[in-house]
């Protein structure tokens, strides 16, 4: 009896994450997917067919036959959408590389700092989270706008004569993404570097490897799991980012998150925006799978 209870309890514990994913991911996804196969309509909800379980099985089957792939075909035919996808991936990719360039030295510096100051540095990296994400992005408007702090400073220092036009360009989007997602990249790299035995680098140098090569062949190579984790943590949300391109980007900044928002709120076209969301999800599933495989490999090598 005792055994039975513990085995049931064991299964329940395993069931919790599955149940969570079922309720908060799979079911909403199925709903969104179903809407993406529907047609826009002037109704509440603003699409047809709307399933009504009380109408009986026949009505359900009829409704089912009305679903079509039209919205997906539409997405493929209108260059706006795939341009937005490509542009999102490029902006997210460039931002990820920029974040890595900024973040890796920070993580490296933190990991090489004396053990006593490391908790403080870690705290400083996490500190911005205490302020709302939205407020921090708004703050960048104040910094980047033509009469903003950055331009004032540069003009005061006589570096420039006329204000730089940064706000409402892709540059501002890159700055915003790099700034906002930096901690997500720094933390995994820091944790990979921190547990690395520094004598490995000394051993490489001892065996005839100049410091820069030793860094590349040993330090960077061993921090790869952290680099991959950090890059995905930046890239995946950046692809679907809406707030940063909306607030900092210009009219020419094409990102799928903005497109989705427009379809949903401006056009009130729920089916098309759902299709956009489904494709975005599929676009991200591939890197997520890659990420998980990298994680699994990292765990295996630590055994």
């Amino acid at each position: 009896m005792q055994k039975l209870i513990s085995s049931v309890a064991g299964r329940l514990v395993i069931a919790v994450p599955y149940l969570w994913l079922l309720i908060f991911f799979l079911i909403p996804f199925v709903i969104v997917f179903k809407i993406s196969l529907s047609e826009v309509a002037m109704a509440i909800p603003p699409y047809t067919p709307a399933f009504n379980l009380s109408a009986g099985w026949q009505a359900f089957a009829d409704n089912f036959s009305q679903l079509s792939w039209d919205n997906y075909i539409w997405l493929l035919e209108d260059p706006l959408y795939y341009k937005a996808y490509i542009s999102s991936v490029i902006i997210a990719g460039v931002s990820t590389i920029l974040t890595l360039i900024v973040g890796y030295p920070i993580a490296y510096g933190m990991a090489r700092a004396p053990a006593t100051v490391r908790p403080t540095l870690l705290m400083l990296v996490i500190l911005p989270f205490w302020t709302s994400f939205l407020i921090r992005v708004y703050a960048w408007i104040g910094i980047l706008k033509p009469e903003g702090l950055l331009n004032q400073f540069l003009m005061w220092a006589h570096v420039i004569d006329t204000p730089l036009n940064i706000l409402n360009t892709n540059t501002a989007v890159f700055i915003g993404i790099v700034y906002s997602y930096l901690p997500f990249l720094v933390l995994p790299i820091y944790s990979a570097l921190e547990k690395m035995d520094y004598s490995l680098v000394e051993a490489a140098e001892d065996l005839g490897c100049p410091p820069i090569l030793a860094f590349w062949k040993i330090t960077f190579r061993l921090s790869m799991p952290g680099v991959i984790a950090g890059c995905f943590l930046v890239f995946i949300p950046a692809v679907g980012e809406f707030v940063i391109p909306d607030l900092l980007g210009g009219s020419q900044t094409l990102m799928i998150g903005k497109t989705l928002w427009n379809e949903f709120f401006s056009n009130r076209d729920w089916p098309v925006s759902s299709a956009v969301a489904v494709i975005l999800l599929l676009l991200l599933v591939v890197p997520i799978v890659l990420f998980q495989r990298a994680e699994a490999r990292a765990q295996e090598s630590e055994k």
Binding site: S199, E202, A203, D206, L207, L222
Partner: protein, 382 residues
Amino acid sequence: MKSLGSFRRTFAPWNDPAAKPFIAIENVTKKFGDFAAVNDLSLNIYNREFFALLGASGCGKSTLLRMLAGFEEPTAGRILIDGQDMRGIPPYKRPVNMMFQSYALFPHMTVEGNIAFGLKQEGMAKGDIEARVAEMLKLVKLEQFAKRKPHQLSGGQRQRVALARCVAKRPKVLLLDEPLGALDKKLREETQFELMDLQMKLGLTFVVVTHDQEEAMTMADRIAVMDKGKVMQVATPAEVYEAPNSKFVADFIGNVNMFEGTAAAVANGKIDIAVAPENLTIRTDAASRSCTVGQPVGFAIRPEKIRVSRKQPADPSINSAHGELYDIAYFGDMTVFHVKLESGRIIKAASLNAVRTVEDPLGYDDTVWVNFDTDAGIVLTA
């Protein structure tokens, strides 16, 4: 070719004034802040020597090794290797290789990859690298583990990979930081002899850092006993053990009974030392140390050189004392007796169990005599 044994038997370049040291450490000081980890230290190490730096943790031995490797620069003084001043030469350009205490094997590379790493840095041809790696794997008997990653190896195997990796480059000097520290006792003893064989076969100069005196005594041609950043004595293991030059060295190496007294008479090549509280008179050969009458001196004697017996010695006034058996530690091969004198002082004496059974063996609380010969101990003036 002469046998390795006969080479070893006659190998003593440190006694040859014409011999040029291979590594010359000249008045080297290394300070971290105000703390001098190594303090005005000079040492000569000769080609093909197996040299041990022995000391407790924090004595500066590892800092000295890291200065030889180039990871630390001396604050003052200089280091010459093969006649070349090493000042300003970075680790990757030095003709030395180091085996790290943690082994520092690259976890993302196979055994082969680890051994080939240093050779690739030299820009050696691919075929030559393969041949050298195969040779090294054979040397450390790891041929069938070439494709394994370090985490798939046992501690002893990892140690051998680390060794193969640093000898692969044929360095002039091999530096070993506690090379056997992470191995269990039995493996350590085996590996000691393997290391010695390897060093002989390759004809390299080894500098090994260790805190384990047995390890140093077994392997090294000479030992430098270090304390507080200074070398206390440099000598062969037998000299360090039998003729320590100071109370520190006598106490640090092995077990010892230490007496403090004053030189009462110096005559006929003998020194008499009066040890006050026990009212003991120690008579010892004066051959090794000179002192003057009235000078306070120490006297060190190893436990195995003291006899324990129920019988009173022929001349109980010299080198003899009696007391009761306070503790007996039986080790199988030998027995250590703790004899408590009337003054309360404990004398340690060790005797070899040469016969299997003894009729009426010494037991607790027996009243016994301890005594020793005039050449058994050593006078210490420092």
